[in-house]
């Protein structure tokens, strides 16, 4: 390296070290500091004088800095770009409360003795409390906050000061900034100067008990006597086109303060009356308060000329458009481009097509070396307008002079080019770029591509990379970023290149794969008996990069050219695999040859686990996977182009015969519905357990109509010919489902809103064509027509209603899942794996002792497992077919040796699979050896941002979840909140689930017999008095209520009438005669109240109260239902009780219940009864079951990480502002997330420090995030 470059590098390193922020300390400015740092006291309310020059002592005083272009700052001498700006101040003529700190002032005033300034606590207790506070502040900061609250509460309730004996004064705080004291004379306002006097007396040592930090502040500073005025860089004036000047909102607000301040000053000097002063004083307080926050509750916001609300300090910082979220986290970048995307299946999957127009603007700074100088000279000569060219040259000498090549003598510049110069050359083929589509929901939303400069004006990408970006070509635009140095390019290529992202970290299976027409094409190509002409065969073959295995084609073709062999050519010769196709037929691949079966979605589709594609990528690597996809896509594309594949309306036409059949099904269904309705009207309808007659009716109708559509759909599929394009698409999995076919060709079926038949509209009817009260099939949204036959006007209307609901759901869902995602990210962003595989927060707190409990990276796993043992043993068995069978002892011994290296699950699986597959000694030895190696390579990289990946893996599928709470086929006890609302409920750590449910397992004695189970269920169910009362009559004369008991149901819940009597007789006089219970409520009747109606009303109320009385069973368990299930472990059938309502503790203790397996979905209840570890397990189970129910595949490790951080502190914390985020150490992260201003205020009084260890803080201050590759430093000797 040349001497000069070494020098430069040294300089850069020096600079990097010098400018590193090590921490940010928060505190409160003292009046002294404010005055000392001020360069100008602002007293002049006019901005400018008569000639338009800024006034001295005005808000635009040049000493504030930010001089006009060309001139220099009178304070620091810098020009506009370099002057940082300087503060001024306003001397307030009277002190005012700092609104943002009003809560803290109130706290102090309550705890302190107004006379002696000591905290109103026992003198002996104080040192103990201080010690405790110091301990908590250091080790358990969130407990410290709670402790302060407790101390203040204790001190404020003391009536007489234990130090000086003065009696306490009650303080009242009227938001936002007024304080009153309650004395004998009544309520008197406490003036800011009085408050200041009191706060001044608080000794430094006791500040910690108020939540204040003695190093960072003094409480009296919270009463302002001097107001800092920010420099003009903070509140720049702008010049309008008309030449008029417009001032910043803050400047406007400050003028208000100065005006009123000056007025008070004058009046005070003139000896004005107190009353007049008081009004102005209030105004001063108001202006200073709104200067800090213009959205104070109960205060009208200040406006500019009565129109525009001023954005003052708090508004500038907080919210989505605030400084934090919009400018500090959301930074804008150079070297980026955006345009519409379009497909190109001739590209490699790693490539992106970049329009030449864009390539000529985006540049890469290249340092000239002896090795590239000739190449760069050519580029310089081409200049900015000819594509591979260059736009600028920066000379190493001449002080970094930058030359624009458009107008330069380019031949001369090229000739003078020397080593060390920098050429800003055009983007060229082979450059690494980052490509992105918003919303960036997971890490595959930004991937590294290899640029390929192409004509025309769109970005081109390969079709198989659409799923990770969730892109289509209906006008989508994408962004491209050019990586600016080779270090970054190398990192991007290694970690982010498309082929390295094929396996999704969410579920450990390919997310990149074939879709739509590719599947159709593969299906037709590899269909049984599909013979290609010689021409076509070789034409397709010519798309492959190189032709190997020619002998293989020969072997397979038997004189025929088949599509299967085209597929086989791409397979490695060692590849053997079999699976089931979509049509449930075998697909068999042996030694790289597709012997049997048709390739469809199950074999090569995107987002398919255990497909052929998945196996190939896993076993032959990412590079092979990428090549396979690229090459096969090319063949499929060309094949379908040549064969042609299209669909038209005639393809939806069913033969007459089928139409008649479908018509018949429709008519029968409608008739059946009418019959059901008639039965219901006669009251003969068979009721479904637990449902009202109306609900049962709907349920029955629903079943009939759903069945009709299914039947019609089956007929349609039966009559469609096998070469019908619609049929092919559905069968191959390319697009559409059976339901789509049914709706297109046969019948749309029932339209629903919120899962029910359409019922809104006019009074008792949906549309004016129907008679009032018509609840028949057609009148409630049943559509018998198909899209082919066309809809009747009423049907069309119903269909539109259903469609509208879908649109609204999507809109709501994106909002809700977006917010869920944001909370997940902020809660988890700083979690990373350390070199010991321990998951820690940025401040070193341990969250997991081993990531995912086995340290395996889901993206390197095989659908969650580090090793696919079946495949491993099978493939090794092929290599070692002969040998002595391994004995159990032999295997045991081998496993013992590696025990400490692999997780126990892997060991157990190896053990059982080796025995099951009757492995020989060689196989056993080799399999175990390779399993250990595979496990090691599947381990996660130290530094990995596992928190963010977990947040993505739960947040990204959020948009795909249903919003509706599902109704389980009529059984209310099983009708649980599911989908997105349930996930939010869990993540929010909501105290009570919206649908509390229990599954109660029974003990040996009760679980096998329905009667015994039912007996337990009846005794568990919470029974109110009304459930066992046949009749309740009010006896007005005796002022009592007569209840006729239902002895039968009373017996069922296991109570006798006497026991019931006893419940009431404790408080009331009661009388029991056989099945009649008379209760006399103690109603108070005022003497003058003789009106019988009043008495009757009171008796009625008493009756209802009695009827609501809980008399038997377990409180909260409101409904029970029995069901026979199969025990997964033992395979036995047993009865279990499903309940609505939950009461874990009592149910567990209940006789007949199996307390080991019985569970509830109420996580807090589990926490209270069974502890934090049980709650953690419950969180995992609940999230996993919601995801599974929604058909979403999410790796356990992500869910475990969420559960572990929620329970880390021994209590359940929500993933949000009051939970996980609230206990983060970083002030900046908390401020950036939500409740910005209170966070900053709290940090100031507590004197908090931000040590800048997490991602958000470092983005804010503009330095490298110390996670992942950012956590590694390279130290090297320079020179």
């Amino acid at each position: 390296m040349s001497e000069r470059i070494v020098g430069e590098l040294k300089g850069l390193l020096e600079e990097a070290r010098r400018y590193r922020i090590s921490k940010i300390k928060f505190g409160v400015l003292s009046p002294q500091i404010i005055r000392n740092m001020s360069v100008v006291e602002v007293t002049n309310e006019a901005y400018r004088d008569e000639v338009g020059a800024p006034t001295v002592g005005g808000l635009l005083d040049p000493r504030f800095g930010a001089p006009e272009p060309g001139s220099h700052c009178p304070i620091c001498g810098n020009d506009r770009d370099h002057c940082p700006g300087h503060f001024g101040h306003i001397e307030l003529s009277l002190p005012v409360v700092h609104v943002l700190f009003a809560d803290h002032i109130y706290n102090a005033l309550r705890g302190v003795c107004h006379n002696c300034g000591r905290i109103k606590l026992d003198p002996e207790k104080i040192p103990v409390y201080i010690k405790r506070a110091e301990f908590l502040k250091k080790h358990l900061p969130d407990r410290y906050k709670a402790f302060v609250k407790k101390v203040i509460k204790e001190a404020s309730s003391v009536e007489r000061c234990p130090h000086c004996g003065i009696s306490s004064i009650k303080i009242e705080f009227e938001k936002p900034y007024k304080f009153y004291k309650h004395v004998e004379a009544g309520r008197i306002e406490l003036s800011p100067s009085e408050i200041r006097d009191i706060l001044e007396r608080i000794p430094d040592d006791e500040l910690i008990l108020y939540g204040f930090d003695k190093e960072a502040m003094r409480p009296e500073w919270l009463i302002l006597t001097v107001l800092p005025v920010p420099p003009l860089t903070v509140r720049p004036s702008i010049q309008l086109e008309t030449g008029e000047r417009s001032e910043d909102d803050l400047t406007h607000k400050l003028v208000d303060v100065i005006k009123i301040n000056n007025k008070i000053k004058r009046d005070k000097a003139a000896g004005s009356v107190a009353m007049a002063l008081k009004n102005d004083y209030d105004a001063l307080q108001l202006h200073v308060a709104t200067y800090f926050n213009n959205e104070l509750p109960g205060i009208p916001p200040s406006t500019h000329r009565g129109v525009k609300r001023l954005k003052t300090l708090a508004q500038r910082l907080s919210g989505k458009e605030g400084r934090f979220r919009n400018n500090l986290i959301g930074k804008r970048v150079n070297f980026s481009a955006r345009t519409v995307i379009s497909p190109d299946s001739n590209l490699n999957i790693n490539e992106v097509g970049v329009p030449e127009e864009i390539a000529k603007i985006l540049t890469v700074s290249t340092i000239v070396t002896p090795y590239n100088i000739e190449e760069l000279r050519k580029l310089v000569i081409n200049g900015p307008d000819i594509h591979p060219g260059a736009n600028y040259v920066i000379k190493a000498t001449k002080g970094g002079y930058r030359m624009y090549l458009k107008y330069a003598d380019r031949y001369k510049v090229a000739e003078m080019l020397e080593v060390g110069d920098i050429v800003e050359r055009h983007l060229m083929d082979g450059d690494i770029v980052l490509f992105n589509r918003q919303p960036s929901l997971h890490r595959m939303s930004i991937m590294a591509h290899v640029a390929k400069v192409l004509p025309y004006r769109t970005f081109r990408l390969h079709l198989t990379v659409c799923p990770p970006y969730n892109a289509d070509f209906d006008g989508d635009e994408m962004n491209l970023h050019v990586v600016q140095n080779s270090e970054a390019a190398a990192e991007a290529k290694a970690l982010m290149l498309v082929q390295n992202q094929i396996i999704s970290p969410r579920y450990g299976a390919p997310i990149i794969g074939f879709g739509k027409d590719y599947i159709t094409s593969a299906f037709i190509l590899t269909m049984e008996g599909n013979e290609l002409s010689k021409d076509l065969f070789f034409n397709l073959l010519s798309t492959y990069d190189r032709v190997a295995k020619l002998d293989l084609i020969k072997k397979h073709k038997r004189g025929k050219y088949s599509g299967k062999s085209l597929f086989s050519i791409l397979l490695p010769e060692t590849f053997t695999y079999s699976l089931k196709s979509k049509l449930d037929k075998d697909v068999i691949i042996k030694k790289g040859v597709l012997l049997k079966g048709t390739i469809d979605k199950n074999s090569i589709g995107a987002e398919q686990a255990d497909s052929v594609l998945h196996r190939l990528v896993r076993e032959y690597g990412n590079r092979f996977g990428g090549k396979f996809i690229t090459q096969f896509a090319r063949v499929l594309d060309r094949f379908l182009t040549f064969t042609g594949f299209s669909i038209d309306i005639e393809d939806l036409k069913l033969p007459e015969e089928a139409i008649i059949k479908i018509k018949k099904i429709e008519e029968e269904a409608i008739k059946k519905v009418d019959e059901i309705i008639a039965k219901y009207r006669r009251g003969e309808l068979e009721l479904i357990k637990g449902l009202s007659p109306e609900e049962s009716l709907e349920q029955h109708i629903h079943e009939v109509l759903a069945d009709a559509r299914t039947q019609a759909g089956l007929i349609a599929l039966e009559y469609l010919s096998k070469d019908n394009p619609l049929y092919i698409m559905v069968m191959s999995g390319a697009r559409g489902t059976d339901i789509n076919v049914a709706q297109l060709t046969a019948m749309l079926g029932q339209q629903t809103i919120r899962g029910r038949r359409i019922s809104r509209g006019f009074d008792n009817r949906t549309l004016s064509t129907f008679k009032e009260g018509d609840i028949g099939a057609r009148a409630r949204g049943f559509v018998g027509s198909s899209f082919y036959s066309g809809l009747t006007p009423t049907e069309f209307f119903f269909h539109s209603m259903g469609g509208r609901e879908g649109l609204m759901d999507t809109a709501v869902k994106t909002q809700q899942s977006g917010y869920l995602y944001r909370r997940l990210v902020y809660s988890l962003e700083d979690l990373h794996v350390d070199h010991d595989f321990v998951v820690r927060t940025s401040n070193g707190k341990i969250v997991q002792f081993k990531y995912g409990e086995d340290a395996v990276d889901p993206a390197r796993s095989d659908h969650g497992k580090p090793v696919n043992i079946d495949r491993l043993i099978d493939s090794i068995s092929l290599l070692y077919p002969k040998g002595k069978r391994a004995t159990k002892d032999y295997i045991k011994k081998l496993l013992k040796k590696v025990e400490s290296e692999i997780p126990s699950s892997l060991r157990d699986e190896l053990w059982s699979k080796l025995i099951e597959k009757k492995a020989n000694k060689e196989v056993a030895k080799e399999a175990i050896r390779q399993a250990v190696i595979n496990y090691r390579t599947a381990k996660i990289d130290p530094g990995a941002a596992v928190g963010v990946v977990a947040a993505q893996s739960i947040g990204e599928p959020g948009t795909q979840m249903t919003l509706r709470t599902f109704h389980y086929a009529g059984v209310k006890e099983k009708d649980v909140t599911i989908g997105l609302p349930r996930i939010i409920e869990i993540i929010d750590a909501k105290q009570k689930p919206s649908t509390p449910r229990m599954i109660i397992y029974l003990d040996e004695e009760h679980r096998y017999s329905q009667e015994k189970a039912e007996a337990v269920a009846n005794r568990i169910k919470a029974t109110q008095f009304r459930d066992v009362v046949k009749e309740a009559t009010i006896d007005l004369i005796n002022r009592s209520i007569i209840f006729k008991l239902d002895l039968e149901s009373l017996k069922a819940v296991g109570k006798s009438p006497i026991e019931v009597k006893r419940i009431f007789s404790r408080r009331y006089s009661t009388e029991l005669k056989e099945d009649t219970l008379i209760i006399r409520p103690n109603i108070k009747i005022k003497e003058n109240e003789t009106d019988e109606y009043v008495i009757l009303e009171k008796l009625r109320k008493a009756r209802d109260r009695f009827l609501d009385r809980h008399i038997a069973g377990i409180p909260n368990v409101v409904r029970v239902t029995l069901e026979k299930i199969v025990n997964e472990e033992t395979g036995e059938e047993e009865w279990v009780i499903y309940t609505a309502g939950s009461n874990l503790k009592e149910v567990l203790l209940f006789e007949g219940v199996d307390p080991v397996r019985t569970i509830t979905n109420d996580i807090f209840e589990i926490y209270e009864v069974l502890g934090i570890e049980a709650a953690r397990n419950a969180i995992i189970n609940e999230i996993k079951s919601v995801m599974e129910e929604q058909g979403l595949d999410v790796d356990y490790r992500h869910i475990m990480l969420v559960a572990d951080i929620m329970t880390r502190d021994g209590r359940i914390r929500q993933m949000g502002r009051y939970g996980v985020v609230a206990v983060k150490d970083s002030v900046l992260t908390r401020a950036a997330f939500e409740i910005t201003v209170p966070v900053l205020v709290g940090a100031a009084v507590r004197g908090e420090e931000d040590l800048l260890r997490g991602p958000t803080e470092n983005i804010i201050v503009g330095s490298r995030v110390p996670i992942g590759t950012g956590s590694v430093d390279l130290y090297m000797e320079v020179g």
Partner: protein, 81 residues
């Protein structure tokens, strides 16, 4: 606490095994994982039902032997606070 409830808590399938570490093991764990600062460990409340049942005191470290869907069995440690 009721003897019956104690047994129920310990035997419930959601509750993994909790073991109080002795002084030596405790020191070792704190040194190995938390660099000597016990407050870096995850916590468990002194009022946690299981803590009460096994009689752990604040400052103790509890070893939890979890059943894991990924690893079969793993251990976790919590500091009683």
């Amino acid at each position: 606490m009721d003897e019956k409830l104690k047994n129920i808590i310990l035997s419930h399938k959601l509750v993994p095994k909790h073991v109080i570490l002795d002084e030596r093991e405790k020191k070792e764990i704190i040194k190995k994982y938390a660099g000597g600062d016990p407050f870096k460990l995850p916590y468990i409340s002194r009022n946690d039902p299981v803590v009460k049942v096994i009689g752990a005191k604040p400052g103790d470290v509890i070893k939890i032997i979890r059943k894991s869907p990924t690893a079969g069995e793993t251990v976790y440690y919590r500091l009683v606070v």
